[in-house]
Amino acid sequence: MSRGYRLSGASVRYGSHLALSVDALDLSPGELTVIVGPNGAGKSTLVALLAGLRRYGGICELDGRPLRAWTRTELSRAAAFVPQSVDLQFPFTAYEVALMGRAPHADRLFESPADHAHVEQSMRETGTFELRDRDFRTLSGGEKQRVVLAAALAQSAPVLLLDEPAAHLDPKYQLAVYSLLAARAKSGALVAAVTHDLRLSRRFATRTIALRAGRIDAWDLDPSTFARVFDVDPEPWLGA
């Protein structure tokens, strides 16, 4: 069980550009936090930072321990990360891609029967088990996204970090993915997802973080915040 994240004065720079600067942020187990904001606001950088994929200044702790003190293996057992997109150059099957989620747990050349059981279950949860023998590169954008989600679920980590997990999904699977994430959070997982699906995510999120220009601008998304953060009239999104 995870005790969650604590960030204090945490920042990420790309060269001289300050991409993210978080004064204070706590994320706890049991929450489904959605991270919203305009393009370039630092959303992806924030989840990548939480996944241990960015060098940072300041304090960023998971379970009371600075992220930079974790080894990659330890961290990958604690937190699973779903990137925005995965482009393959080589002919891995969908099953092989999902199986890579077990890498943090497998210490032999081949995965154990238990590993395969985990993968089968994750693929069934995301409706991808029927695609298992397909070359990953021949899948549609939405199918790829679900296979990558299956890989993250198979990681069995108490923290799930996702970068636009439903961007390419049809309505049925958008709903399925958000229900799944909400269920995971309800059973004690810490879930944080970047998203542009403002309507749907509002229904499932227990918490909202609105980023603007690399900083946390608001903790909700009511019409006045929306207008300020996105610089657009919120009516088409938030109206009835």
């Binding site: 990548a48 996944a51 241990g52 994929l53 060098r55 080894t71 990659r72 293996t73 961290l75 990958s76 057992r77 937190a79 699973a80 990360f81 990137p83 995965v86 482009d87 393959l88 150059q89 080589f90 002919p91 891995f92 099957t93 092989e96 891609v97 890579m100 989620g101 890498a103 943090p104 497998a106 050349l109 081949f110 995965e111 395969h116 070359d135 990681q155």
Partner: protein, 319 residues
């Protein structure tokens, strides 16, 4: 999954065993088979001191080049990469050509290794200047190193006298030269050890083949892994190139063709690539030394002529 890998590896090993058994029996000289197994006869010495070490050298060189090609393709995530893309082999060529030019041809192996090492260090230094060793920078630095080395080779060649010039061209064509068991054993030691180190990380290469962040968020420390891959691939390429000169085509065609048929799992690709690369070069070298009655064809000509059309066929057939 494990079953499939074992079947593929067993089949590949069978192919190599067959090739290794037949190749030494073929050659321009007709052997008196009744006496070939008796030490001291001419037939025995042709079979065991000329043909067998050459066949073994070809097998090791083919296995090493295929493994290096596979590794470089994974590192830069581009199935068009080969053992020569990253500049190491042209560095070895420059070293060897320099030795020929300065009249110390007996040191060509040593200067070849030195040339390869210099290129390796330079390219890695350039590519790791940023936050992480980027495949793109690695590729650019390697291609640039290649151009510089080739320019220097051409420069030396233009200054060389007639005899040197012939030796240089012959060397650059590549070929499996007859050699003793000592050389074969030395190469075997290096190649088998490096290939074993590479195979031990097969699952990590799979993760890296998807992407660096993908691998990192699944427990792989990518910076040391990429460095290890580059050094291992360079060591395989350089140790072979110093003995045989550059042999083209095999290093990218074998892993590429294998991927088309067998998928992308490195637990299968590394052993099968090694075994089939070895078998392929032994076959090509056997053709090279037997096809024409009086002359030997450079083996690089055969690898491309035999492998090219075969690969085009593979590409045409639906997977």
């Amino acid at each position: 999954m494990a079953r499939r890998v074992i079947l593929w590896v067993a089949a590949s090993a069978g192919v190599l065993a067959l090739v290794l058994a037949v190749a030494p029996l073929l050659g321009p000289a007709r052997l008196d088979w009744s006496r070939a197994w008796t030490p001291g006869t001419e037939a025995h010495s042709i079979l065991f001191t000329i043909r067998l070490p050459r066949v073994l050298l070809a097998a090791l060189a083919g296995g090493a080049l295929a493994t290096a090609g596979l590794l470089f393709q994974t590192l830069v995530r581009d199935s068009l990469a080969d053992p020569y893309t990253l500049g190491v082999s042209s560095g070895a060529s420059l070293g060897a050509v320099s030795a020929i030019f300065f009249g110390v041809q007996q040191w060509a192996g040593v200067t070849g290794l030195a040339g390869a090492a210099l290129v390796l260090l330079a390219v890695m230094r350039v590519a790791s200047a940023g936050r992480r060793m980027s495949p793109h920078t690695l590729l650019l630095a390697g291609v640039t190193a290649n151009s510089i080395n080739i320019a220097l080779i051409l420069f030396l060649h233009s200054l060389a006298d007639y005899g040197q010039s012939f030796t240089i061209v012959r060397w650059l064509m590549g070929g499996i030269e007859p050699s003793g068991y000592g050389t074969v054993a030395l190469l075997a030691g290096v190649v088998v050890a490096v290939a074993a180190v590479v195979f031990a990380r097969a699952r990590q290469w799979n993760l890296l083949a998807v992407g660096e962040e993908w691998a990192e968020s699944r427990g792989v420390d990518t910076a040391p892994l990429v460095r290890l891959g580059y050094v291992a691939g360079s060591l395989l390429t350089a140790s072979v190139t110093c003995l045989t000169g550059p042999i083209g085509f095999l290093g990218w065609i074998v892993p590429h063709a294998l991927r088309l048929r067998a998928g992308a799992d490195h637990r299968l690709l590394i052993p099968c690539g090694f075994l089939l690369g070895a078998a392929f070069l032994v076959v090509c070298d056997t053709v090279a030394r037997t096809a024409l009655p009086q002359a030997e064809i450079p083996v690089g000509v055969i690898t491309a002529l035999a492998g090219g059309p075969f690969f085009l066929l593979l590409l045409r057939r639906p997977v």
